[in-house]
Amino acid sequence: MRFLLDDEQREFARSLDGMLSAADTPGAVRAWAAGDTAPGRSLWTRLADAGVFALAVPERHDGLGPLPLELAVAFTELGRHAVPGPLVETVAAAALLDRLDGVGVDGAAAAWLPQIGSGKALVSLCVPAAGGPYALDADAADAVLVVEGDTVRLAATTGPVQPSADPARRLARPLGGSVLARGPAVTAAAAYAAETAALATAAHSLGLGRALLDRTVAYVRQRTQFGAAIGSFQAVKHRLADTLVALEFAQPLLHSAALALAEGADHSAAEVAAAKVTAGEAAYAAARTALQLHGAVGYTEELDLALWIRKARPLRDAWGTPAACRARVLGS
């Protein structure tokens, strides 16, 4: 297997990072949380133009994918910039439709996959067995897919938004709708979609954790107390060193999981689960460290840091709780 990213993949990450740094991503997150999706959607279009969603869409529907490793690279950058919206759900929905194409939902696949790839459609996905009863950002999505048992539905409507601890995550129950397909192919496709979602969430977490670490390192270098930068105190340094250790060792698990998914390997479920729990725990620990080392200013909503801190715990638990992931690693 390849252990290192190639130049093209690294350049892709760099260009996404550059584009998102120049865009007012925090502004888009705040607007999204307040129910104004316009800045988020314009960001979404730019991500689509950069090719992010095409990575999840097969070539026969005008995409480039599925390319799980490139998706992991992209989602790490999306996490680094805390981009709002049903990003994970959209690529997972693409994975679902791709697998069901030709086994019952040809019309839906043909209708939605090109639109997902081009960034015209935001699609949310709810698989209660793998990710809980809510669809993320269903109110902003152009379509909401729901998989229950061996049945996939296109939801007709959604219940009221249930505010999340991260206001930029808007949760709602999908309601009603028409059955698109039924049968064992749906169960298999949903399992694959859930793995794709877990992988993208792991990458999102990893990027989030790296951003939290970077921002905190910058802060402790300039904040002084007792006449010295707080970053010179050992208790502070050691906590940040542990944060780096945890993130660094999550990275190769993510990389390997993406390759396993790309190959369709039997062990991909266990690999994705290992990456998901490790990246999720590392990012949540990074969030706690970031908050602690920023002190009270870290506890304020004004500071953009809050946008990252609040996302860490929901991402850790979305698309596979740590307990579920650990059980899967042991095949039990």
Partner: protein, 389 residues
């Protein structure tokens, strides 16, 4: 997990596995931290050497196979998976040899390396002193210039297996008048049975007698046993320290094989409703996998012309904590059998878990304590300001 290696690498793996299957002793050897075990392990080193498996990554002229770091990782995986004996020559192979490859003379390499590879000469590391552990540069033992060489005086301590080893390598203060403590140090090698050396064994936490303190009283060392330039010992030692905490001291095979044994133990013994214990088993398995993947990524970076610097401190913190987690989880699975020492006839797995557990507890202390590693990570990798040491 599958990693696809080239056909040549797979052939190398198969060759190593076949050899190990044919040669690894069926009953584990007695602990290498005891006199009897030390002797048995020395014989094992000779067996390895005879078929050029003792130092696979060394050049062929010194008894190695010139294996790439990737092949070395493969060999180590097979070695631990086969349950092969611990390496009594590890201090020499992991610490002194890389130092000689980097800083030694051709004469020193030709003289020292083959007998190290064969287990004929087993080396001890004589760095620490009673007053100088983490602050190694504060060491006080001296090397004083004399005709054709140096005279060593002072005391070294916690030297692993020095009670049974043949020779030692260490740092000595050769110039007492320097501005900074890490200047004026000289790195040299000396025999443990030389005139003026007194070796006193110190028991360890696990009851094994293999630590020793060394008292040095006008011990003569000829010039050809100085490594690098006199006065430059700190620089020489720091390149060794990078090896010590980086990959070469703890290859992933050790942890992946322990994780596999732990998983088997869990399947045999665990109460399926105990999800807390299951989660810890999973975390240990994931940790071993992460370490393995990270090692292969590091090897790939090296192969692509990169270097490993302060990153080795990340490894040190990670493997030492992983090792403890693996062994603590195993003891919890063993319940009442967990406390049986490796000498106990009833001890499961010939006491490997018990012995491994006590040893794992030392991981965050030796090879530079984890507190010191965290300082290095914070300052060199994260760029945080130096604080008071």
């Amino acid at each position: 997990m599958d990693l696809d290696f080239s056909t040549a690498e797979e052939a190398f793996r198969a060759e190593a596995r076949a050899w190990l299957t044919a040669h690894v002793p069926e009953t584990p050897l007695p602990s290498l931290e005891t006199e009897r075990g030390f002797a048995a392990h020395r014989t094992w080193e000779r067996t390895l050497f005879a078929d050029r498996w003792s130092v696979v990554s060394w050049p062929e002229e010194y008894g190695g196979r010139g294996a790439s770091i990737l092949r070395w990782l493969i060999f180590e995986e097979e070695y631990y998976a086969a349950g092969a004996p611990g390496r009594v020559s590890q201090n020499g192979i992991n610490l002194l040899a890389p130092t000689l490859f980097e800083h030694g003379t051709d004469e020193q390499r030709a003289r020292v390396l083959p007998s190290m590879a064969s287990g004929e000469v087993i080396w001890a590391q004589a760095w620490s002193e009673p007053e100088s552990g983490s602050d190694l540069a504060s060491l006080r033992s001296t090397a004083e210039r004399t005709d054709g060489g140096w005279l060593l005086n002072g005391q070294k301590t916690w030297s692993s297996r020095a009670a049974f080893a043949d020779r030692a390598f260490g740092l000595f203060r050769s110039d007492p008048d320097t501005a900074k403590p890490h200047q004026g140090l000289t790195y040299l090698m000396f025999p443990l049975d030389a005139d003026g050396v007194t070796v006193r064994p110190i028991g360890r936490l696990d009851g094994k007698p293999a630590f020793a303190e060394l008292f040095l009283d006008d011990v003569f060392v000829p010039d050809h046993d100085v490594i690098g330039a006199p006065g430059q010992g700190w620089r020489v030692a720091m390149s060794t320290a990078g090896n010590e905490r980086g990959l070469t001291l703890r290859s992933p095979g050790r942890f992946t094989s322990a994780a596999a044994r732990l998983t088997a133990l869990w399947r045999e013994t665990a109460d399926p409703s105990d999800t807390a214990l299951r989660d810890r088993v999973a975390d240990a398995v994931i940790g071993a996998r992460a370490y393995r993947l990270s090692a292969y990524a590091g090897a790939s970076r090296l192969a692509a012309g990169g270097t490993i610097g302060a990153e080795s401190s990340l490894n040190k913190v990670f493997w030492s904590e992983l090792d403890i987690a693996l062994h603590e989880t195993a003891l919890d699975l063993l319940g009442p059998y967990g406390e049986l020492a490796d000498a106990a006839g009833d001890a499961p797995a010939h006491g490997a878990w018990a012995e491994g557990h006590t040893f794992s507890l030392a991981g965050p202390i030796y090879a530079g304590t984890n507190e010191i590693q965290r300082d290095i990570i914070a300052e060199r990798l994260l760029g945080l300001p130096k604080g008071r040491r």
